[in-house]
Symmetry: C2
Subunit: 329 residues, 2 copies
């Protein structure tokens, strides 16, 4: 059963993909489906003996180009839609034991191009209204395959959080005539106290109202609405800054920090109205509030949608800058 169901009590669509209950779950290293297919092992999902970066359709997709008809009938109260869209896998390296931090500068730059290319291709599909490249790193955030990889979802609607961001950006634009991320980036550069690092026109900072203690956002300081708009120097800057931020995370407590990293861009519904208010940015949410404690989403966050955070963003930024100096020395 694969379908999208609308919740009339929240205004949200939820996607059901019951076949995912049986997806590959933490296989032994010898049976990793994301490793190259080599003569001495069985075939994997990558039919090459060697590769740099490879993308393909997820074998257990939440959304697909020709989804089955919904199993339940739709009604006025309960709308139902086919789970049309795309779920792609992006494998970062053929090295099973690598993490993002092990990728060299050239490989990360190649990844930026891959994300930009796949975003552009998926953006042209009629049924896709929002494209989101993301990475879940570490079993703490539920990663079931340890091989370094990310994913790209092509959604048939603008999902809840980007929609909420666009509403906030539209409100800011109405009252000031400006893009909110342009204002926020300028403000962070001016104050500096929450800045983690800068590179090639890109800024990384701990947001003033971070939901997660060590949350980092990254954005170009000038206005761009999506990855394909970036020129070569801006792509170099993004690649360098991603490596820098992940190095800071991993140096902070001496282990690869789990995180969820995602790109937010303009919707791909063909409307030009988003361009002035959609500012490309990266959101990185690590679940840790210290080396050995997690920030759990419990009553206030899950049922209230109200985040309570234990670490001051200014202190988190200082921690990350210190970690970065240690990593560099």
């Amino acid at each position: 059963m694969t379908e999208r169901r609308y919740d009339p009590t929240t205004g949200e669509w939820v996607t059901f993909a019951t076949h995912r209950q049986n997806r590959t779950y933490k296989p032994a290293d010898d049976f990793c489906p994301l490793c190259p297919s080599r003569a001495d092992g069985g075939p994997t999902e990558v039919p090459y003996p060697s590769f740099e970066v490879v993308t393909f359709d997820n074998r257990f997709p939440s959304f697909s180009p020709a989804p089955p008809e919904p199993a339940v009938p739709a009604s006025v109260l309960y709308p139902v839609e086919p789970a049309v869209g795309r779920c792609e896998v992006v494998v970062y390296s053929e090295d099973h034991h690598a993490t993002f931090a092990d990728l060299d500068a050239e490989r990360v730059r190649m990844l930026v191009d891959v994300w930009a290319d796949r975003w552009e291709i998926l953006a042209t599909e009629q049924s896709i209204r929002y494209v989101m490249p993301f990475e879940n790193r570490g079993s703490t955030v539920g990663t079931t395959l340890s091989h370094p990889h990310g994913q790209i979802y092509g959604y048939p609607e603008i999902p809840t959080r980007p929609r909420q961001e666009l509403a906030a950006a539209a409100a800011h634009h109405r009252s000031t005539g400006r893009c909110v991320y342009c204002d926020v980036a300028a403000n962070e550069v001016a104050s500096g106290e929450r800045v983690v690092a800068r590179a090639g026109g890109w800024l990384a900072w701990v947001p003033f109202s971070a939901r997660f203690p060590y949350e980092v956002r990254m954005a170009p300081t000038s206005h761009h609405s999506c990855l394909p708009e970036l020129d070569d120097p801006a792509r170099d800057g993004l690649a360098e800054l991603l490596s820098t931020v992940v190095a800071a995370y991993d140096a902070m407590w001496g282990f690869p920090l789990p995180y969820v990293m995602a790109f937010h861009s303009r919707p791909t519904d063909g409307s030009g109205e988003w361009d002035p208010i959609s500012h490309l940015h990266v959101e990185i949410d690590p679940p840790n509030r210290s080396a050995d404690k997690l920030k759990y989403l419990a009553g206030s966050e899950l049922a209230g949608g109200a985040f309570v955070t234990d670490v001051a963003p200014e202190a988190a930024a200082a921690d990350l800058r210190r970690a970065l100096r240690r990593a560099a020395s």
Copy 2:
């Protein structure tokens, strides 16, 4: 540092309470702050040698009646407010090793009265606009004290998720003239396939668009906007149904299922406009998708706000009904 900061890029308030980083964390049983104060042990947070149910202010509050002034200055871009409000603890039993499922009918009924009374008292406070009783059960959802207890937060604003629900309810009311939860409850009673149990005018069901695989919602089938409105039979029904649902959860896989349980009611901002669209309900979110696997919030959920679920709600309801029959036999 305790303060609320506004995120202009999302339209959300985030609360910072850095003193909570040092809150009591999984103390040994002998040092539980929620046990009674007995002659043979040190004093706890409950200055009585014995009790049934007790409520008091959280020692490490996110919100308090006289919060400190914010540490950072507010600006037009970044509004800041004191974290005014209330955080209360509700201890369910003096038995350190009990869980909700161990409470007898009389105790659960007493709890319903305590929630209703505290809701009514906090609702009168000028600075509080939303009161949410909730319980986090189990270390999987981050509970740091194992003694059976819940919490009540009095928020200075309507938090994001209730606000989103009210917007959806208002839209439904505009187009139909009816309360969405009244319609949903009637629909669930009529179809029956997602119903888990009923008691005294209350219904428990797996929502048509459940975010969590074994999510349950509970609501009175007739329109009530808050706990104090419930008469004695309706309170008995709520108490009985809560015990029934928790018994089903615990019987399903033979262990106390972790969950986040929360009451959603009308806002307490003094506006009468909410009454026709605010339908009292309980949301219960267990993190498990099977006995040994969790539903993690990762890229799609955290960064996209788009839930993808592996279990059909109709199958989850059947699982819970089966568990209930086993528990009863």
